[in-house]
Symmetry: C3
Subunit: 133 residues, 3 copies
């Protein structure tokens, strides 16, 4: 009944880590055949998204654009210096839901699961829950 | 089978209201032990997000930055004067999914559930559905 | 157990297509009475959102503002010329979850389901899965 937990190590302040194969591994380990899997990030300065896992430049362009839109040096009230990280997390989202069929994570051809770090480097957690159909 | 409904009263045009304890209360009332809970906002100018519930300045910084990125005074076509509210709602999201274990809403240490008002003040609704594992 | 698939034809590079009635039709066809329905977009340059389906100007304002915030002509690294489309997709989201009660898709009065094309015109897919309560 308890969720499964992944560890994700990040090496920069802002970074996308592809966790697709880790999520697939949890589905195998649990033995879920058909249903949904929910990936949930229990942090307030990191989120989860879905996008291209082929060309790594897409991840770089995404992280750069997020930093352009929500720069670290704006005049924020929150004194920890990471208000930008909180805001980027909300824009990204805290969880993502996927379909599982015949034990396989159903993704589009080019899709991967992005763990999005906005206040690293840190060792982060990612929670995973499967619901059978 | 019917969803549960919360009322959320807002007092400004743009405002974050922490509804974490209200969602936990619904889980207690329903008696859900293990599964997921989905919080759904049936409005088009208010959404729901997950972020820090400790320092209230994070909520203020978020609301200010959203207003910077999507200002109310841009030259929109929609004549009701709240196109910015619709766009902020899409960027925030309309629903969020959470895990429930042993009757408890599973959140990260610093996480709270943000009801995000973008066209208040109003009395809003929030729908909640629980699915048992 | 397999998901249902919709086809969505788009006619511009950036465009919102209302797929609400198509999703409701899938629920009828499956015969789901009570539970949830998840709409999942298996692409990396198109997403799904929830917003107003009454005044079509809201869709136009949304698409224009997204193009303002994430312009196509920024200096991206990804060479396919559609980094803006990938970033807009992440900001929009890849899936949305809805409640179903007595065979009916539960939406707020003004809500519709937006298929958001950011790299069209194309023929796109949309996956739908229902989970009974």
């Amino acid at each position: 009944m308890k969720h499964h937990e992944l560890q994700v190590k990040t090496t920069s302040r802002s970074q996308v880590v592809d966790i697709t194969s880790k999520v697939q591994q949890v589905i195998y380990d649990i033995g879920l055949q058909n249903g949904i899997v929910i990936v949930y990030v229990p942090h307030t300065t990191a989120g989860v998204a879905v996008n291209e896992n082929a060309d790594p430049d897409v991840k770089i362009d995404f992280i750069r654009k997020m930093s352009d839109m929500v720069p670290v040096d704006s005049s924020y009230k929150h004194l920890e210096g990471n208000s930008d990280s909180h805001i980027k997390t909300i824009l990204t989202n805290t969880s993502q839901t996927f379909f599982v069929e015949n034990g396989k994570l159903m993704l589009g051809t080019w899709q991967g699961i992005y763990f999005c770090e906005y206040d690293g480097p840190r060792t982060r957690k990612c929670w995973i829950k499967c619901l059978e159909e």
